[in-house]
Assembly symmetry: C2
Homo-oligomer: 348 residues x 2
DNA sequence: TTGTAGGCGTTATCAG
DNA sequence: CTGATAACGCCTACAA
């Protein structure tokens, strides 16, 4: 809990007429440049002047104007954040993590949606550049690596959902393959051998990684991979529902389903329910992401926890480090299994 | 050092080096002020100059710098949006509506979270003002009306979740009372007479309105209002779950539950499930909001549809109108009932 | 109708 | 170390 107990001195809270840097300079009896230098730590200034300025700042309740800063080539104190849908239940938590870690640092995030569309993301990029953001956080998306690398020449970038190496850029990847493997292993350990997999959108790299994890787990358990058990989804509820219906209609036997995300798992669950198949009694189900809502599904959904909130925090922290010239070294937590009530031992 | 070298105008679409208004002016053979005037429609300019400028803009791929605009006192083309939690499943849709309607208009929203906390919202306000947003959209929250009215002197404001009248301010309210009434009536028409109500957070005005609707419906049906059937929740899943447990433990009889929002309904549903009470066979359940996920609950949740996405669109549209000097006249759609599978006729 | 000259609040580049 | 003096890119009087 941050209490931000930084109330400016006396009548400063009035904040009415804007206080400018120049006013501070006059009040402190120094030049504007000196004030600026103190504010930005751009150069060393004598202690007495520094004190005088600090006091003047307190007294007047001055706070630098980010817009003017932007124009003058300084820092805007704003970071562009390209998410893919502003209302995504998954990225939502990441945005919160970003917001919360930037706030105490005085930075404000600028959220824009890329809609999983490279062209749209490029537009976001231009918009953000025109607004002089100090840095950029890209939550996955489809921008080509080299576009990102090129952009990183202008401002620091933190990207998630991929691993790449470029100057002034830090990437944060989550081990989707491992997550997929863990989920599948869980089902296998429960005695399931006919495990269906609902994929995410074809173009999503993480979906294919999760599929790879599924295959790896199968192979490790010497279960033959059967393409007929793989059905295409698109990462949202209806697609999960439809996928299961197709699966059912195909008459392919299965005793468990691994959905590449929780939203599809929810859809799958409903499809099963409609056909009078009970979860987990008749078929076990596991999702991926651990959305807040998954805990309250009926039954509560077993899933792979993905640390979206922490991911946001880490991305923001890394950005802060980049901004201050340090090399970030954070690492995304490993996926881990959350066993709830949608999966259980297979009894033939 | 910049030698003021003109761009040879050809590779303009490259958008590389920033194109300034001054460059456009030179290209078109007019003065910067003329270009500005054309851009902002500030004054009448001769057709030929206008054409020349338009062409120059096309050719150079010019687009005005919002930061410079902000500093110079013009429009930043950005609108502050105070939402309450950036990852709220309910407001998420509204944000999307806002984003989508602003985009084609060239405005970009600045999303900040107020956390249902007046002090935090005031900080957001200051932050947004310092960033020279052209307008402000406030999604409910707890800011006092007069604070809003005062702020509206500086910039147009659109508020949701309340009805108030002030110059340069437009308010959009949803009929929560009616919604609550409709939900309760639905249950009553199904034959239920012992209907529990799970409230939202105490301080939320919409929660008490929904409760009022509940009471009104009861009264209209000549059912005595019983305070013991009202349990306190806090608008999130766990609180709904806990509320139902308390209700069950109180041994108070009931055959249906109306939860003041879908999230609590989900929690309630799980609590019922844990006690082996089936929805809707043993108890009918209805929520409020119609979250995207509610359609995929088990069973799919009956609820009151609240047009969050449209609300966002309407708020943004109204802002656009305010910005162009028109008086908004939009009105929020009325609540309506969505009957799904969590409610059914009572059979004693 | 159109151009010129300031100025918006900071930072950066020079001299001292 | 510190202080003038330009920018930054645009808008808005004021003049012409």
């Amino acid at each position: 809990m941050k209490t931000n107990s930084k109330q400016p001195a006396s009548a400063a809270h009035q904040t009415k007429g804007k206080v400018t840097l120049e006013m501070v300079a006059i009040e402190a009896g120094v030049s504007p440049s000196t004030v600026s230098r103190i504010l930005n730590g751009t150069a060393i200034v004598s202690d007495d002047k520094k004190n005088a300025v600090d006091q003047a700042i307190q007294k007047l309740g001055f706070s630098p104007n980010p817009v003017a800063r932007g124009l003058a080539g300084g820092r805007t104190m704003s970071i562009g954040v390209i998410t893919q849908a502003i209302d995504s239940p998954f990225y939502g938590a990441a945005l919160r993590g970003i917001e919360e870690t930037f706030e105490p640092a005085g930075y404000s995030p600028l959220f824009v949606s890329g809609h999983w569309n490279a062209a749209a993301e490029v537009r976001c990029l231009d918009m953000l550049k025109s607004r002089y953001v100090d840095g950029l956080i890209v939550l996955t998306g489809r921008l080509p690596n080299d576009t990102l690398a090129r952009f990183a020449q202008h401002m620091p970038i933190v990207v998630t959902g991929r691993t790449m190496d470029a100057p002034n850029l830090f990437s944060l990847n989550f081990d989707n393959m491992l997550g997929g493997k863990i989920a599948t292993q869980h089902l296998i350990q429960l005695g399931h051998r006919q495990i269906a997999f609902i994929t995410g959108s074809k173009e999503h790299p993480d979906s294919v990684e999760r599929l790879n994890g599924y295959k790896a787990a199968l192979e490790a358990a010497q279960i033959r991979f059967d393409p007929k058990l793989v059905v295409q989804g698109e990462y949202h509820e209806v697609s999960g529902l439809l996928a299961v219906e197709r699966l059912l209609d195909s008459n392919k036997q299965f005793t468990a389903i691994f959905a590449a995300n929780d939203q599809m798992a929810m859809g799958a669950s409903l499809a099963l329910h409609r056909r009078s198949l009970r979860v987990p009694d008749d078929v076990s189900l596991i999702g991926f992401d651990d959305l807040p809502a998954s805990m309250f599904g009926i039954p509560p959904l077993s899933t792979i926890h993905q640390p979206a909130f922490e991911l946001g925090q880490i991305a923001a922290t890394s950005m802060l480090q980049l901004l201050s010239g340090k090399q970030p070294d954070a690492v995304v937590p490993e996926p881990h299994l959350i066993v709830r009530e949608s999966s259980r031992r297979f009894r033939g």
